[in-house]
Amino acid sequence: MSQITLPWVARSPEKLASYRRSAIVRLIGLGLLHVALAFAGFLWLEPFNEAKLADWKIVPVLVLCVGAGLAGLTLIAGGLAVATYERIGRILKWGYNAFAVFLGGVLAVCLIVWLHAFVFELVKTSPSGGTNTIPVLGIPYSLSVHDLYKAMESTSPGIPFDKNVRLTIPPLAYLLWPLQFGLVRDLVAMGGIIGFVSIIPAFGIWWERKVAGRIQSRMGPMRTGGWHGWAQSAADGIKLVFKEDFIPSGGDTLLFKLAVYIVFIPPLLAFIALPFAGAWVFRDLDVALLFILAMLGIEVLGVILAGWASNNKWSVYGAMREACQMVSYEIPMGMSLLIPVMMAGSLQLTAITDAQGGGFWNWFVFANPWCFIAFFIYYAASLASCKRAPFDLPESESELVAGFLTEYSGMRWSLFFFGEYVAMFVVSGLAVILFLGGWKSPIPEEWVENAVVQMGAAENMIGTIIRGLFKEGPILFILKAAFLYYVQMWIRWTLPRIRIDQVLYACVQVLLPLTMIVLLANTLWILGVEHLKLGWLVTVDTGIRWVLVAIGVLTAMGMIGIAMYGYKNNRRLVGSQAANQLPGS
């Protein structure tokens, strides 16, 4: 029996090297050929004049050219990767790739949203029944491919150093064309939202485990995926999908199955009205705040049903605790949210954020002492509404097995956590929008704009990127919300769980009267400062505002200081083995 030697299992180093050389040559050669073909195709299509752009027959050629170009670049990259594998093999390991994939995904989402906004502006401003009005499938449209190309030429940002050379990619006009239909835009946006919402729990659960580990002087997940166990959530997800799905026979099967969806769909729907930035909102509802509160309120019903349908004493106890807790904490939560609404005079979240522009001293949390208190009341109540520690009575595992989750297993169980982590982001985002200035940067926007003009970048890509980061983009909102998300984890792993009677006492006898006092005082304060303009009160208001700003700055500096102290002393605090694994050690 003769041994079959496959090329890729050849043991001899010389053979291996020769195979590698030929592979490199073939890959790069093929890649260059593809790129040349694509280039020739583009040359043939040039110039993209009016007649050509209106002609649909060039679409297949374009698709072929783009495809050939991409394939060629991939092949060349593959060849280079094989050629340099031993040198850069380390950085090709999964952990680093994961970061690249993540960053690429973020950039792609940003690009898609920017294209949305671009087309949306054009649709708004274009005269109805523009140059080309042959309806497609019975739907009339107003922008032809040529209009989009012209618009791209005139409004896209210029490249650095020469603002007259603009970033115009003619084939993009064909991709933009379908986006002028509202339904297509909605579908793409929904895809984006669902993608973002799926990242939150996966990332949040991994992050929570790392935070828990650090707080308990452990390291948390370290193995799955390579770099700091980044793939732990994915591995857990796969495990949970394949686990047995157990349904108690004595329970109400239909409600048992339905409860999961009532828990995890409403937090998802809340993203319909949650603005990430001025233009980054799916529907800018005038009752956005009420809508999000309604969605957070419906979630409770799912938990109650889960406990009820399980027909298990632990589950029913958990569900009853959830019902008590939520019904009582909704009141201080809603009332404390009325205070920023009163300050801004609107229920529209974008309008509330716009009222807080111009530097962090204008954020509502620093506006007056009552807002300052209201922020903390809201934060405490939002912890209770997400069933987070110290209010995680519904599933307190030390007394109720797992509370309302006792009978759940597999994928259904994980969907409850999906809902919880998404709701955590929603309440954090709401706190950011109402009290911490939403997507507004801590420095006034005029400073950003002045800096852009000073740099001479007002019309080129650098200016667009700076504005996107500090003025109009969602990055600051996501960072602020992620910080509050982190504080929720921090509280969970620091504070002990409190008893149910203490939970209700804290709400009904402490938070509720306090909220009412704060609400009344804030009303009178606004009346005195803004409407009656009492001289002494205005002075006191300004003074207190600066004191609050100072408290805020000192708190932030203190947190950074403590974090730096912890990082400096990590060997003593978490042990040298963990410290060696920290980034930057």
Partner: protein, 164 residues
């Protein structure tokens, strides 16, 4: 597009309304009610009545419904609570339902459904306008409603107090 959405939501509302009537398990009835209330809220959204839709979701779906389920859980003797109406109750219920049906049918067939040109539908009202009119033009009914709610609250607190 709107017509398709309308039929979908209307189907949800009707199907869950039938569920409310047919189901004998009180918790399942409550869940069917969630479908009805949510569907009606979606119809409000379709009509651009955002405030009404949000209030519907908060007050009925997020408040009343949870109180119903909560009440059932706290008061039920057996795990599965069913409706077992007596004959008298059934007769009364039939009469009330028939009267209601006659009323609704008369109303829907005789009402003038065409929106008036300068009516409230001409421009969808802002939330701020609703708030302003509640506190100026319609202050008296608003106050009467709040006094009524206060009376109910005091009554509930009286009933629930600990006996001394």
């Amino acid at each position: 597009m709107d017509a398709v959405a309308f039929y979908i939501f209307a189907a949800v509302v009707l199907a869950s309304a039938v569920g409310v009537v047919v189901s004998k398990n009180i918790v399942r009835t409550a869940v069917c009610l969630l479908g009805t209330l949510g569907g009606v809220a979606c119809l409000y959204f379709l009509l651009d009545a955002n405030l009404l839709a949000a209030i519907q979701l908060i007050v009925y779906a997020g408040g009343t419904l949870i109180l119903i389920v909560f009440g059932v859980m706290l008061t039920s003797q057996s795990p599965w609570v069913g409706f077992k109406p007596t004959r008298g109750q059934a007769v009364v219920a039939t009469i009330v339902a028939l009267l209601l049906a006659v009323g609704i049918i008369t109303l829907t067939t005789t009402a003038d459904w065409r929106p008036s040109a300068e009516g409230p539908l001409a421009a969808s009202p802002k939330v701020a306008d609703v708030g302003n009119s509640l506190l100026t033009t319609y202050l008296a009914p608003f106050e009467v409603a709040s006094v009524l709610l206060l009376v109910v609250m005091i009554g509930a607190a009286y009933l629930a107090r600990t006996e001394k």
